[in-house]
């Protein structure tokens, strides 16, 4: 089967959704020329300027207009470029898109997908590198998704577009070029995690790009006699409590890792839930509460590399 990269996978999912439903449109800065990461490549040629809409640099109105579009029959896919820029549209996401259905008593629905790429990306420094999934997981009304592979980006973007709730869709900027095969049939659904690697001694929950470092650390741990089960959460809200709790109950230890800031990160929610429900040892691994620095030496401090994960999980398993 042909290989496809993470950006192309998303592009294909969107193209298929647009062919199937004339109400699916996309809007944002630079989408006409393919988006800054190539994730809209060729779409304006196929669907025209009326459906792949190049917009001014007006994040509030990109998101707010998408709310108005969604309320009146369209299914907009909203490009925010990087998650950091969505902070210019935070009212539109938090007070408008997320609240609309509830505060108006169910009169309207807001079926939009807001694409907010997260993560470090080659020297992009403090304002283009943040992983803010916890912010949006905190807001009732929103679904938050973070795909880790081309296959998941294909399947989960399709699921997000089909979803009638507003979805914050967080692709990782260091995954665009990652290649993989597309699944022969669609199985991924929102709210369902996946066991990326089975194991028996410890459950390692993570998502997005860190799934790959986690899998690598698990392989190395296996050579040292430690069997790690890696769970790719895929959807941050609603997170798959059943799968995580069942795995953690079996292994007796749960470590959650993310490349977002550890303090008040979404890992804290998972760790607290597992501890409350199962009373087993839990541990968090995240990045320090510092902005992402530009120089490689500084940027690396804001990463969670596979070596650190390996260290942490060994220490965790060996602890009494």
């Amino acid at each position: 089967m042909a290989l496809i990269n993470y950006a192309q996978a998303a592009c294909q999912a969107l193209a298929e959704a647009m062919r199937a439903d004339p109400h699916v449109i996309a809007l944002g800065e630079d989408v006409g020329r393919g988006g800054i990461f190539g994730q809209y490549l060729g779409l304006q040629q196929e669907f025209g300027e009326a459906r792949i809409i190049d917009t001014p640099i007006s994040e509030s109105t990109i998101m707010g207009a998408a709310v108005g579009m969604a309320l009146t029959g369209l299914r907009p896919v909203v490009e925010m470029r990087v998650a950091d820029f969505a902070l210019c549209a935070i009212d539109e996401i938090v007070n408008q898109a997320a609240k609309n259905r509830y505060m108006f008593g169910g009169q309207g629905r807001v079926p939009l997908v807001a694409r907010l790429p997260i993560g470090l990306w080659s020297g992009s420094a403090a304002q283009h590198s943040q992983s803010l999934e916890a912010w949006f997981a905190h807001i009732p009304g929103l679904v938050v998704v973070a795909p880790s592979t081309p296959a998941d980006n294909y399947e989960l973007l399709a699921a997000a577009i089909a979803c009638d709730d507003p979805v914050i869709y967080m692709e990782h900027k260091e995954l665009w070029a990652m290649t993989g095969e597309l699944p022969s049939k669609r199985t991924a659904t929102l709210g369902k995690a996946r066991v990326a690697r089975p194991g028996t001694d410890l459950t390692l929950v993570t998502w997005s790009k860190l799934v790959h470092a986690a899998t690598e650390a698990a392989e190395q741990a296996a050579q040292q006699g430690i069997s790690v089960e890696v769970i790719d959460l895929r959807t941050i809200w609603p997170w798959d409590r059943d799968l995580v709790l069942a795995s953690a109950a079996r292994t007796g230890r749960m470590l959650v890792a993310h490349d977002a800031v550890q303090a008040a990160g979404f890992g804290a929610e998972i760790a607290a839930t597992v501890a409350e429900e199962l009373g087993i040892p839990v541990k968090r691994v995240g990045t320090p509460r510092i902005p992402v620095g530009y120089a490689r030496t500084l940027e690396d401090v804001a990463r969670v590399p596979a070596e650190r994960l390996l260290q942490e999980l060994k220490r965790f398993v060996e602890a009494k």
Binding site: P56, G64, V67, G68, L71, Q96, R101, F104, G105
Partner: protein
Amino acid sequence: MPANTSPANPSAAERLLDLYRMMARIRAFENAAEETSRGGVAVFGSTADAIALVRGPLHLSTGQEAVAAGVCANLERSDYLTSTHRGHGHTLAKGADPTAMMCELFGRATGTNHGKGGSMHIADFSVGMLGANGVVAAGIPIAVGAAHSAKIRGSGAIVACFFGDGAINRGPFMEGLNWAKIFELPVLFVCEDNRYSATTATDAMTAGAGAAARALSMDIPAETVDGNDVLAVEQAARELAARVRSGRGPQFLHALTYRVKGHVSVDPASYRKQSEVDGALESDPLKLAAAKLAALGVAAARIAEIEAQARVEIDAAVAVARAAPFPAADAAFTDVQDTGAGQWL
């Protein structure tokens, strides 16, 4: 109705009577809301009175009725409208049922929003009223999106986007107008200028020549009217709405009115002179319209009858709202989201 009092100019009189009727209904609604809200919000360290029927911040459009009535007279049911935190008048004028609206203000299950929104979030999607909004200027991008959607879908609907004079100092105002113009969208922007940004006079907070000048700077045609003269508003809105409907892109109406009440119902507005308020009351929109009706030969009894009918209608709405049930507590969990419904912790 008295039988032998046919006015000199029947069509002009009937048109104004319709507008007057709508303004009288809005006035009666606002008066009733104000009355039933007393004690409903905590002020100056006091505790809100649990007995109050309307709770929380109540923003009244008393004295601004001509803008809602005059603009909405030119809208179809299938057109859309976005409103502000001061949205009762717009909602009523767009065709919403005052009983369902009053139930919403009373927080009842039978309200337009089933008790989940209250005054500040009142909405009636069934008549195209896409919502009042607790955030100043937030309705502008939503209106622009609804207009963009109407254009893409070729539905023929237009959007009336109401906002206040305070909103023109927020970013979404500039973004939304620019967007509407570059895409030539079917939206009628209506700046309902009541001279106050919350509890501060807007003039001192606004650089340049104001709302219409800002629209003109983006090549959006703009008209400024006396927002208390319902005929002037109706006429200007008719022309602008016709242009919007014919595909000539966004148009802008700047309607100058005055906020007779405080920012919220409990605000005594002691930051302004009584003489200023007294002066504004001289040009109360209902008073102006009544004088015009008299000049057109409409009998005073007919005007009084319209006002009485409005009061009867709103009194009935209040009676229904008083008796209506509150939503059950478990309704707090409905209409949040489908994906993950039930996962509240």
